[in-house]
Amino acid sequence: MKTADKKKLSLLEPRLVRRAVRDAFLKLDPRVQIKNPVMLVVFISAIWLSLIVLMDLIRGGFSSFNFQIAVWLWFTVLFSNFATAIAEGRGKAQAETLRAMRKDTMARRLSGKTEQRVSAAELKAGDLVVCEAGDVIPGDGDVVEGIASVDESAITGESAPVVRESGGDRSAVTGGTRVLSDRIVVRITAAAGNSFLDRMISMVEGAKRQITPNEQALSILLLSLTVIFIFAVATLKGFSIYSEHASGSNSFATIPVLLSLIVCLIPTTIGGLLSAIGISGMDRMLRKNVLALSGKAVEAAGDIDVLLLDKTGTITLGNRMATAFLPVSGVPVDRLADAAQLASFSDETPEGRSIVVLAKDKYQLRGRELPPGTRFLAFSAKTRISGVDLPEQAGKPGRSVRKGAIEAVHDFVVSAGGKFPEELRALSAEVARAGATPLAVCDGPDALGLIVLKDVVKGGIRERFAELRRMGIRTVMITGDNPLTAASIAAEAGVDDFLAEAAPEVKLARIREEQAGGHLVAMIGDGTNDAPALAQSDVGVAMNTGTQAAREAGNMVDLDSNPTKLIEVVETGKQLLMTRGALTTFSIANDVSKYFAILPAMFAGLYAASGSSGPLSGLNLMRLHSPESAVLSAVIFNALIIVALIPLALRGVRYRPLGASAILRKNLLIYGLGGLAIPFLAIKLIDLLLAAMGLVR
């Protein structure tokens, strides 16, 4: 499967639409309908009205009005089914591709030294299997021996192969992926049927979709509103009987009209789209290449208010870089830069390279030919010094250029007969205080100055953190650095807090402490030592490149292994809730207009002088054509609005990182006021059309 087509499946792709239309009819099954109480009421009303129409036909009568209402009630149910089906459709399409990939592979199980070919389905956790170039890895596991490049495009959609090796943080392999080169031995960690791929299939398919706590709370509210509206309309029958008696005139409170009123009042807009919203939330995560292992985690992501991230690779580029040369007094900076560059030519570490680059960029020192006989000294943890020895050449004496830790350079200078300037110590202490790492440089007995190595904060990360802060999320940087360095990087990156010299148990303790304070904590990690913290956090995002332990412990897996992805995860979580909230508000606000359409239609006949309409036609603010037209227009609007809002349900309400009040104000204006006003216009429009087409009396 290519991600390209996974991502490009447009919202309403014809293939998916065709299938969703078919599914919409299949979902008329009462066993499906009973799961959604709000739509169940519409379903029952549609059946009831159809029976009324049928009985009329049998008796030889036919009411075009009743028939049209019945048709539109069926459409209301179908539209809601369609919304759910289209949301499920994309997931199903993906699940099929994944399933096709999970063909029954053969595994080469190791028992002792001998290899044995067994079906992948027979593998148990703890088994060791061998995979060589071309083999499909039979199940999830950890590499325990060897290194290999693996094609994981099936899972991640990324075509570039990744390296998997034993030990370290890149040991996890996923069943269904293919080894491209070399040989590895994998210890299986998940039995067949419970593998990552299996879980992925069931998640994208929505088969195991559990109702999330928040969705449950909303369902209760919607159910209660449904009940109260049923009672409000049912009791209205009693009041209308009274009024008919009292006035000696007739009302239009027939069973079809009362059923129409119930259907229009109960929150069908949100009720019909509720499951579509939930499913599409998971789907949007997946399109961002994040696999949420539970819907609850997606929802929890929207509530996160503390985020723990690793410094290295997330906040800073992986390595420290040279940012400045600080000469001691009397030494021109060019000389220092020259020496520093010389000492680093052969230094292939990123730090060494950054020194060469800095000297080139700032002091126009280009690379030069080094004479033959030049000797390089590599850095070692023991000597803590590196450099180059140039031989005598063209009258110039030989040089021994060194760079390294202050103490190491001090020893070198002193042993070369030079004097180590005390000024350099002060300078280096100052650099360290600013959170950077000083490297001393000397040319033989002359100590020249310092190279300043700094952690370089990723471009744009500050803005990302500012965005998180506007979302109400506090960021905590985790680093193994000393507090001084950590503080300086924290300030530069704009994180709110940091945790220095962090060991796994310190991370865990910090998460517990935040949670005890009532915070919801997200954590991003990849290593095995992150696993406890990932498990403890409310939203644990494991990098797909990470270890199996980490992937098991988290409740989301980022297939792109991109730590700043969490921002999008949070956005998706929030969008999910916001979409529900917005449509609920919209749905309830709609009811006002429906009252003003249907109530005057029902009761305009009361106390009416013959030929004219009665006093309650004063409520007919929209000046609708006739009572029949008014009721029918409201029912049609109620059905069509579901279709109209399907794209919004699938895409989600847009989230912008503003304060809660600003977001609320905006959404209230759009969905609250809009929900009040739009139906007035739309119902009037439908009414005009119905009258023009002669569909109503």
């Binding site: 409000a232 209205l236 009042l265 109400g472 304070g517 917005a582 109530l599 006093p615 959404n667």
Partner: protein
Amino acid sequence: MRYNSWIELSLFFLLLAGLTPLLGSGIAAILRGERVPLMDRAERVIYSLCRIDPGREMGWKEYAFSLLMFNGLGIIAVLVLQLLQHHLPLNPQGLPRVPVLLALNTAVSFATNTNWQAYSGESTLSYLVQMLGLTVQNFLSAATGIAVMAALSRGIARRKTHALGNFWVDVTRSTLYILLPLSLVLAIILSSQGVVQNFSHYLTVKTLEGFNQVLPLGPAASQIAIKQLGTNGGGFFGVNSAHPFENPTPLSNFLETLAILLIPSACAYAFGLLAGSRKHGVSLLAAMFAVFILCLGFALRSELKTDPALDNLPFLEGKETRLGIMPSALWAVATTSASNGSVNAMHSSLSPFAGGITMFNMMMGEVIFGGVGTGVYTMVLFAVLTVFIAGLMVGRTPEYLGKKIESREIVYAVIGVLLPGLFILVFASISSVIPAGLASLSNKGPHGLSEILYAFTSAGQNNGSAFAGLNANTAYYNILTAAAMLIGRYAVIIPVMALAGSLAGKKYTPPSTGTFPTHGVLFVILLIGVVIIIGALTFFPALSLGPILEHFLMRQGRRF
């Protein structure tokens, strides 16, 4: 409206707004258990007599159970007193035994703080029943409301506990330190204005026209003070505070109106303090004031017009001319906003629109000030729904004052908010069709429907005011309104207690910029919106055939 009416209105709101924080802080201090000098000996005597351990805290179930037992005993006591009143002292008129169903209705009515009066005080109840039965329940039912509010506020303020305080302590302290002193002061002022307070026979006097008139007397002032302060509303005399012996002067009228809203308003303030957010309390109050002023404005606008059905005269029929239109309208809006129910004019005689407002005030769930304690705790249910919807709209699991709102809380909130309304509709609908219901009507047309709707709304929301016109003292109405009163009271109290218990067990979630704040203008507007919309959506169909239809008919010159 003349300038003196404006002055009176301004003075009213200034006094109410000024006294609220003062009294509210006092109530909060008392519910926190702070020692009250001099009086605390009495408190300790009560505890030792009743074998109450004031230090023992209760979980929500025990608290609710104690409350139900306490109110149940109250109902039985009032019932028995009425059934035996002809054998008991302080019955100078020799009034006979009260019929069982009427007695039951009255007992339920006073124990639930409704004070729906199917009886007429002067012709039915002895002084002893009025004092020992009704007045005692006036205090205790109000104290019960305060106790529930206190327990709820503790549920919000406390973390990870099940302890919500001790019901007996809350009731004792509320009665002893809040209700009794205030009532005493008001009773003395009222009797200085001429409200009667004696144990005499009714007086028979000869009028100027030469007819004989019976003047009912009795210990009125003591009951009136608490019926106003405790949002009870059950008058000593049948016509309630329209009676000159209950409400003789403009000053007594002003003070009695103020007393209706005083404690409910202070309770909202106290709730904020107790729940740990004064700002939230003030925001709840702001919502109450805003809706109140809105309703008053609409009512006055309609009342100050002339009646097209009565030769364009002012709407004065059925009102006390001593008091006039503005004070009558103010009282009507106040008494239905707070679940008081006392009247100084017959609501049946309000203009249809203003009559609709008094009804809608109750239909909103008695949260615009509402009853003593009950107003705030019911408002909290609406606040829970508000933060839930708002929380969804800002993309965050909703929190209410630091406590997460989940399915359980929503269940409790919707039960408390919707169940009373549901029963009101059902009872009213049935009554508007069956003969037993229709037999009591004295008016035809939409006005008759309003009478029925009003009766059940008043009972189901524990207001107790009557639209008048409906003969409620029939077996049918006595049973059905009693049922409505019980549902309206306990279908709210029990979910509120469960909510308190559930919130108490939660940990505290500190607010962040992503949290929707439970104070400030936006919250107030949203809360008002939720209250009005839930009330309107539930009752608009019913109202459309009652007051709304009548309003349109009146514009065509037809009245009922």
